[in-house]
Subunit: 216 residues, 2 copies
DNA sequence: GTCTATATCTAGATAGAC
DNA sequence: GTCTATCTAGATATAGAC
């Protein structure tokens, strides 16, 4: 049982963990190309030797950071989509959950990074996350259709893609404007369309403690 | 009247123009941070002296390239939105027009580049483009509402943001999957929702020569 | 107007001391 | 395990010849 870092017995964050977290932050802020090992080390407060001891190099560290971010994002999204209420409520909870719009999506951002998109290994966690996300949203929608809440003839997979795309595109529009308003508008527009598919009004069900603001 | 490049009288593209076009391509492929002056010069086939003669530096050249790309994108989008048919037809024409999905949007991509987003000057053309685009889509939708084609109560600005976001987000999902399918699914899902807002079926009007495949 | 040579700084990684 | 030196290459810009 080797010591996995000097911090474990001091109550501080182990070196390896600090490297991963620093890299998560920097990838989110600057992307892969814009993030240098030097910047990671400075933020983590460790020397170069530590980084190359724990990881093979920049790509390996980035992979660990991306996988971690994807896990965290999935946990957050799934919590919304597994919440109380109708299918509409669950989708609305996911759409209205988003935070820090101007920072963008830590995972979606990576798709614009050439070195990431061109690397099968680095792209895999992105693909896996969005695949799971769309599948989960589609599942929620399909349940709504089966329950008679949403219009029959609704294509769950297509609508799930629209939901995920609206969020990702909302980030893009908001960053272009340096203002979260376009993101909010896109979500509002989608929820308005979605509510038109609801045969039983979403508020006809008890929505439970979540109490998300309804759009229409 | 100074000579604005040695190519004008030889039928070849002037140096300055070659620099702008090369930069457009590289910004699209690699983003701002990932594009070096050296790469631009190599693609344009000119020496460094030419670049620093025509432009102050990388940022100035990038600004010219981004403005050019925005103009081209606007022309293309506006053509779709000014086409024949109903409001649904026009929006569908815009949504279905998209090409080279895996390359992403040359303008939307820039929003993920820190140096661009943090520069008021470089961000301005992105903001202007998406602002015009949303305004134009909203105009089409508002006309549809006034004409009684689309449901009264529709919020043109919000729906326009949803349309633009679906496209931008579709690119993100497609690049994550390395497959255009999620883009197509997102568009299909949105058109299905939109068609539910159509009080008069879109095919009830003569759609003219455009003849876009209808989704539902 | 265009070129090559040069300068400075940083990226990314290795070597080896402690 | 962690540190500081050191290395090679490339980014970005300037200088000055042609």
């Amino acid at each position: 049982m080797r010591n996995s870092g000097s911090g474990g017995d001091r109550g501080s964050v182990p070196t390896r963990e600090r490297l991963v977290r620093s890299t998560q932050e920097l990838l989110w802020e600057r992307g892969y190309v814009g993030t240098s090992p030097k910047a990671i080390l400075e933020r983590a407060g460790v020397g170069q030797g530590s980084m190359y001891h724990h990881f093979d190099g920049k790509a390996a560290l980035a992979l660990a950071a991306i996988e971690r971010s994807a896990e965290e994002l999935w946990a957050s999204a799934d919590a919304c989509l597994s919440g109380p209420g109708t299918a509409y409520d669950k989708v609305a909870a996911y759409l209205l959950r988003e935070r820090q719009v101007l920072r963008g999506c830590p995972i979606g951002r990576m798709t614009q990074d050439r070195d990431v998109a061109c690397s099968a290994e680095l792209r895999r966690p992105l693909d896996a996350l969005f695949d799971r996300l769309r599948a989960r949203i589609a599942e929620v929608i399909a349940e709504g259709v089966r329950a008679g809440e949403l219009a029959a003839g609704t294509d769950p997979a297509a609508l799930a893609a629209t939901v995920a795309a609206t969020v990702q595109g909302g980030y893009v529009l908001a960053r272009a404007a340096d203002d979260p308003a376009p993101f909010d508008a896109a979500v509002r527009g989608l929820l308005a369309l979605l509510s038109a598919q609801v045969t039983t009004g979403p508020t006809a069900y008890p929505t439970g403690p979540a109490g998300h603001r309804s759009i229409r």
